[in-house]
Symmetry: C2
């Protein structure tokens, strides 16, 4: 079994109203040292190991998890997770 960590972020060119709202809240709470906030998704999968694991991860990211028109994704496969 492998643990897969997937990070989904909005593309640079896409506005992030949720991030803007968080930034405004932080400024209101006197954290003015925060210059920018971008909010994304973090997904942990537990997957059965297979030879084409990376291909399968990319497929399921593109088909379901990420909207590749406005989002980028990257992933890490964690080795050595106990069966």
């Amino acid at each position: 079994m492998k643990k897969v960590k997937i990070y989904i972020t909005l593309r640079e060119s896409v506005l992030d109203p949720q991030g803007q709202a968080v930034k405004n809240s932080l400024h209101n709470m006197s954290y003015e040292d925060v210059q920018d906030v971008r909010i994304g998704k973090y997904i942990e999968l537990e997957m059965k190991d297979s030879e084409d694991l990376t291909k399968r991860i990319e497929e399921l990211c593109e088909k379901l998890l990420a909207n590749t028109v406005i989002e980028n994704y990257r992933y890490e496969i964690e080795e050595g997770v106990a069966q």
Copy 2:
């Protein structure tokens, strides 16, 4: 300026209905090799550097970004981001 990456995840003991829904969708799409899905948040901050940066990050995570009753957070500070 530092880039701070914050990962917010549900505690192990807390049910994740969103993750369950994604898992069911993946199974319906014949990705049965996905055993478990947990969904969290990934937040990127750009912050002015300061001596008490880690203290400030922890403060703003606990006050605004994470609900520490049901969520855990961890963060990384990325060095060498251009001013």
